[in-house]
Symmetry: C2
Subunit: 210 residues, 2 copies
Amino acid sequence: MVLLAIRDDRLSLLLIRRASEPFRGCWALPGGFVLERESLDAAAARELAEEAGVTRVHLEPFGVYGDPDRDPRGRVISVGYVALVRADELVLQAATDADAAAWFPLDEPPALAFDHPRIVADARAHLRDALDREPVGAELLPESFSLAALQRVHEAVVGHAIDKRNFRRKVLAEGLVEAIEGELAGGAHRPAQLYRYAGRRGEAKREVGR
Amino acid sequence: MVLLAIRDDRLSLLLIRRASEPFRGCWALPGGFVLERESLDAAAARELAEEAGVTRVHLEPFGVYGDPDRDPRGRVISVGYVALVRADELVLQAATDADAAAWFPLDEPPALAFDHPRIVADARAHLRDALDREPVGAELLPESFSLAALQRVHEAVVGHAIDKRNFRRKVLAEGLVEAIEGELAGGAHRPAQLYRYAGRRGEAKREVGR
DNA sequence: CACCTTGGGTGTCGTGAAGACACGAAGCCT
DNA sequence: AGGCTTCGTGTCTTCACGACACCCAAGGTG
């Protein structure tokens, strides 16, 4: 599970430190096993609820990892899921096989156990592809947010700076997002217009394009 | 395994008719089980070699299917792979749990067993996404081919007709494909210029864009 | 209270990709 | 010889996107 949330305006990744032997003390992705009568999506949702205390999340599989030697303990096949959660809904729990959990910026993760570096990279690539198909920001930001916050999310995903005017033009042209009249954010300096996601998910972009 | 090849100028899908009971007599995707010490990719390659007698193929996972009720016999988790093969390299073998194998146009598949309709749809969507990232045609067509043949492949994948001039302009601008000087196809009417794939796979498109 | 600092908000131009669109050319068949 | 079928070609328009600079509003500071 690649669990992402915005922390200090940065897109961050939840990792646990392994308490038991293979890669003991290393940072690793949280995860768990699928139960006998449970779909993969349900398993991911359950693990997420157990570890992060969140239920309403964007949860999406992006890859399978089945190399026979990827786990020295034996044959483990993993399905990678990206989870986008709102920071204010998080309630971290103690995982059974970890002695610590911490957030790291997605840009600069620490050394990871197993083939987890590859999994994180794949998750990020997947997210980058999904960025202009799905309202990624909606799952990471609170109900109302400034366009600058949304831009920071996009920049973290694509990995480079985006021009402010171009970004605003594009986002507003998509029509997924609407200004909340009269609402302003009480920031440190000039207050920003707040926005919220408008319509349903998905095809909206194409509809607007016509 | 969603196994695709060009047959009669159409992009076609290999299906097997099930000989044993769940969905007996229904058409289904070919597939098999992963061995204890075998990667998923290796398992897919092995199944493909067993069933279609081909080894050098484009083989790519696109999804995981793990609903506990998807197979009435019990819990089976499947990984979907798309395989693109050249028709002239195919040597179909008898599969153990099938009494027949046949090709169907990808556009109009028959009723399928299990959740295979969904898997086929996902494979096609994956292929559509990959179409302008990877030299899809290179894996389906013989060494040398006419642009018209390549265009038919693309049309089959995207599902609609493409303007001939626009297609040629784009394909040639990408630089992935090069004319074979002096070679012409002996067709029914005016002979066509033959082409072949030029450079390596992958980033070529971006490099040309600069 | 004046000024500075900081982030918020706005418009234009140029370029490149892609879609729409029609006709002559070459070879085969009858 | 004529007709049929496929091959091969260029222009125009539209749109998405990137580059680019300045004023505005509020809080903090001296």
